[in-house]
């Protein structure tokens, strides 16, 4: 089955990002395809590489980056949600005249059209977060 995953919450406060990650891993292990993971609303906070949890805690952001590298996943951060919350890649930094960028490896910033295009191609949209 072809899945698109939508993540609506940031890491740590809610289990949402963990559940989405675990579902994605299980789907891939089960031979399914994950066409795209779309980070929406506060979910865009899954994509900042400045995240620095304590040593004995999981690193939610690095975990996404590793999974993306391993399975060639398409991790898309919603641009409108990202701008409001200060998640920028280098080109957004330049365009918005900011002094830093923080997008984690394996993520890219794009528009809501990526979610719509994804669900048109997918068999199922699975949404994590309320």
């Amino acid at each position: 089955m072809k899945f698109v995953i939508q993540v609506n919450e940031g890491p740590y406060q809610h289990q949402t990002a963990d559940s989405a990650y675990q579902f994605t891993r299980a789907a891939l292990a089960g031979g399914h395809e994950v066409l795209r993971i779309f980070f929406y609303h506060d979910g865009v906070n899954n994509g900042t590489r400045l995240t620095s949890p304590p040593q004995d805690d999981r690193n939610v952001v690095n975990r996404w980056s590793s999974l993306a590298a391993e399975h060639d996943l398409d991790l898309v951060i919603c641009v409108a949600a990202a701008q409001r919350r200060g998640i920028l890649d280098e080109s957004e930094m330049n365009r918005l005249d900011k002094d830093a960028h923080n997008l984690a490896p394996g993520f890219r910033i794009s528009g809501l059209g990526q979610l719509i295009e994804g669900v048109v191609m997918a068999d199922r949209l699975v949404v994590f977060g309320d």
Partner: protein, 119 residues
């Protein structure tokens, strides 16, 4: 490929960002030529309330955007009969024309859609 997309609006307009975000998502869905329906349930009904005044909460009143939906061919707009009654709302209290469905009909509506976006 065209899919039947149902956008479910469940929350009051200004307490969270979801109602405003849903408007963008509906317009993008329309730009991708998808077959779009909107459903308002629970406190989502309040998004369609006439005479919203957001000055004191320092938020933008985005409710006029709902009137623009017909220009984007977004014409199938449903509301929950039970949610209307629970909030003392009548069709005349709403900013746009809607079709009122009982919750049992809403189950069928969800069944017949390919994709459900929940806000």
């Amino acid at each position: 490929m065209i899919k039947k997309c149902l956008y479910v609006n469940r929350r009051a307009p200004y307490g969270t960002s979801y109602a405003l975000e849903a408007i963008d998502a509906v317009l993008i869905g329309s730009a991708f030529d998808q077959d779009i329906s909107l459903l308002f349930i629970d406190d989502g009904l309040f998004q369609l309330k006439k005479d919203q005044d957001t000055a004191d909460v320092e938020m933008k009143n985005f409710s006029p955007a709902y009137r623009a939906y017909d220009m984007y061919d977004v014409e199938k707009i449903y509301v929950s009969k039970e949610a209307m009654a629970a909030r003392g709302l009548k069709k005349r209290d709403l900013i746009i024309d809607v079709e009122v469905l009982s919750d049992s009909k809403i189950k069928d509506l969800m069944d017949e859609h390919d994709v459900i976006f929940s806000f």
